[in-house]
């Protein structure tokens, strides 16, 4: 079974001048179960929009998104929310941890909306990312690197089929970036979750066996790049 399948996926935004600007145009894209794949793309290549479409946070104008064989595009918003909770783990560049909640509560809340709360497993995940002694700390009381690891544990909370990582190491220094990347990859492998990572960092991309350029996946990326280049000139 494929972890992810995109077919003729299109999304446009309305620019300030009233013109519709294509942001995502993916004729076809697939990730196998438990496969790890990196997309090379800079900001402005439509990468966050693409990931939000895959996660069901945004709806496409046309085309199909299948996660774990389930069609998101034919689903209602509550169904997409449910699907996201159960099948997709999301690691953001800015981590997006809930500030008022402890590390453990961040993981437990994700479980509450997904497959149900499993305290033992939440504890195990935090243990696994090396935060067994920090479960009751709030994000502000943790270092940047530790916050990133809470985000990783949270993304894996519901045994997802697919983990999306948007520049997950963008806020880390070189050494921590390398560590964090290793952790994400190992833990996805252990959990048999597929991993789709988007980054423009060559040292990150170099660690992946399969790397694809955003331009080759998202045809709109070329026009976007041309537009921003034109804007600068």
């Amino acid at each position: 079974m494929l972890a992810l399948e995109l077919t003729n996926l299109r999304k446009t935004f309305v620019a300030p001048d009233g013109q519709r600007v294509p942001v995502v145009d993916v004729p076809e894209f697939r990730i196998d179960a438990a496969q790890q794949l990196a997309l090379e793309g800079s900001s402005g290549s439509g990468k966050t929009t693409l990931l939000n479409l895959i996660a069901g946070i945004l709806s496409p104008d046309s085309g199909r998104v299948l996660v774990a064989g389930i069609d998101l595009t034919g689903s209602s918003e509550p169904q997409r929310d449910r699907l996201r909770a159960r099948h997709v783990g999301y690691v953001f560049q800015t981590f997006n941890l809930l500030q008022g909640y402890t590390a453990l509560e961040n993981v437990l809340l994700a479980m509450a909306f997904g497959r149900g709360v499993d305290r033992a497993y939440a504890g195990h995940l935090l243990e696994r990312v090396g935060l067994g002694h920090r479960v009751h700390y709030r994000p502000r009381q943790l270092s940047i690197g530790q916050q990133q690891r809470v985000a990783v544990a949270r993304a894996l909370a519901n045994h997802p089929t697919l983990v999306l990582a948007d520049e997950p190491t963008g806020n880390l220094d070189l050494r921590h970036a390398h560590e964090a990347l290793g952790l994400i990859r190992d833990i996805c492998r252990e959990q048999r979750a597929a991993l789709l990572l988007v980054s423009h960092d060559r040292s990150v991309l170099a660690e992946f066996e399969v790397v694809r350029k955003m331009n080759s996946v998202n045809l709109a990326a070329l026009t976007l790049a041309a537009q921003s280049a034109g804007g600068v000139a």
Binding site: T48, T49, N52, A55, I57, L58, E77, P78, D81, R82, R84, A85, R86, Y90, F92, T94, N96, L97, L98, Q99, G100, Y101, E105, L108, L109, A110, M111, A112, F113, G114, R115, G116, V117, R154, N158
Partner: protein, 438 residues
């Protein structure tokens, strides 16, 4: 299996803690609104019940021509002034009436330090039931007290007064407030309002302190009716001419007057006939019957006060509900990113919506529970004032529907107050609110 409930509850708890200050202030305003509203409902109802339906040992009161309400207030509740006097013969007549089981004359007009002195017969102790099956009883002398001074000590122990002596039996509230006790002596003062210069020369000895009855009688000093007739300065006008009693000589009945006759009928239905006879056909006296009706009329007349109080209570509830809306609504803007993150974790719009509604309802619940304590406080204060002024005792104990309905209503209103902020949270866009750094 979505397990959303635990998540929602965690969201509510965290949010309440993060906004502890505004939560606390809102809870206080809710508790005041709840406490005030329960108090208005409960105290109004209880006061009405106590005055109108309260157990009274009499069926009717006979007094001078005038207001039935005034007669009842003066004789049952020992408030207000007496409407006037009726001749002794009228008392004798009604006492012998076959429809009347018990008739007790009251003579008022004196006080001791503000506590009214009622001249009456021993029957008030021996035959009158202030509540079905309950008669006045004197308290045993307290052994811990210093004891009566040897010169004034009544020869026997605590008892009811002897109709031929200057003896008094005092209510429990009188004893507690004035300090008078078994064996003490005191001088009555003229008038129903205490004035230092109006002291009578006679000395009365306290021969008994009554057990508490939780009724207006607790505020009364009972003396023999003959004592009132003979009190220095009192003048009897039963014959139309002034007559002053002389020591050691009988007073002819024709001179005697009484303020009221308390009547217990052989059957309550007989009151109708008697009322017809005295109020409609007769011209000299008034029969207040049934007693509860006069009091109900009083409450109907002051009904607008209750309406205003109720309106105020409702308005306070509206203000409190608005304070919930305002305090929760204010937090929604700063929580947009949090809602977006929760949504990205798989929380549905309706989960976020429910969490905000539940948060408002929780604030209302905490406030309502605290409101019960506020109610107890207001009740104690109000009951104290009512007791001091009227002798009527309100009890906190009895179940009142307002105790449940008002908090339940407040919680429902609290949930409603959360709808607007909840809608704002519901409408939060995930993609646009996820992006920025904290």
């Amino acid at each position: 299996m979505t397990g959303g409930l635990g998540g929602i509850w965690l969201m509510v708890r965290r949010s309440l803690r993060q906004h502890a200050m505004s939560t606390a202030i809102t809870c206080v305003s809710i508790s005041l609104a709840t406490g005030l509203t329960i108090s208005v409902f409960s105290i109004t109802r209880q006061t009405r019940d106590a005055f109108t339906g309260g157990p009274v040992g009499f069926d009717a009161v006979l007094g001078a021509r005038g207001s039935q309400l005034q007669l009842v207030l003066n004789t049952i509740f020992h408030l207000d002034a007496s409407p006037g006097l009726i001749p002794w013969t009228m008392y004798e007549e009604i006492r012998r009436d076959p429809r009347v089981e018990l008739a007790i004359p009251y003579c008022v007009g004196d006080n001791y330090r503000g506590f009214r002195i009622v001249g009456t017969t021993e029957e008030v102790f021996t035959r009158f039931e202030y509540q079905a099956g309950r008669r006045f009883a004197v308290q045993a002398a307290r052994s811990d007290a210093a004891g009566p001074s040897p010169t004034t000590a009544p020869s026997r122990g605590p008892r009811f007064f002897d109709a031929r002596r200057a003896e008094a039996v005092i209510g429990s509230f009188v004893a507690q407030q004035s300090g008078l006790k078994f064996g003490d002596t005191f001088n009555p003062y003229h008038g129903t309002v205490f004035s230092e210069g109006e002291k009578h020369a006679e000395k009365y000895v306290v021969v008994g302190v009554l057990e508490p009855t939780n009724s207006p009688s607790d505020r009364v000093i009972w003396i023999p009716i003959e004592g009132v007739f003979r009190m220095s300065g009192h003048v009897l006008r039963g014959t139309g001419r002034e007559f002053a009693a002389e020591a050691g000589r009988e007073i002819a009945d024709e001179h005697k007057e009484v303020n009221a006759v308390m009547i217990k009928l052989r059957s309550p239905q007989l009151g109708m006939q008697l009322e017809q006879q005295i109020n409609k056909q007769g011209k000299v006296a008034t029969l207040a019957w049934p007693i509860g009706k006069s009091m109900a009329e009083l409450f109907d007349r002051i009904g607008w006060v209750t309406k205003v109080l109720t309106l105020v209570a409702y308005l306070v509830i509206v203000v409190a509900a608005a304070s919930i809306t305002a305090s929760v609504y204010n937090t929604i803007n700063e929580r947009r990113r949090e809602f977006a993150i929760l949504r990205s974790l798989g929380a549905r719009r309706r989960t976020v919506f429910s969490a905000v509604v539940l948060e408002s309802a929780t604030i209302a619940t905490i406030g309502s529970l605290a409101g019960l304590a506020v109610y107890v406080g207001i009740f104690a204060a109000a009951a104290g004032i009512i007791r001091r002024q009227t002798g009527v005792v309100l009890a906190l104990g009895p179940y009142d529907a307002a105790l449940v309905l008002v908090p339940a209503g407040m919680i429902a209103i609290g949930a409603l107050a959360g709808l607007l902020p909840a809608w704002k949270a519901y409408a939060t866009d995930v993609a646009t609110n996820l992006a920025p750094l904290s």
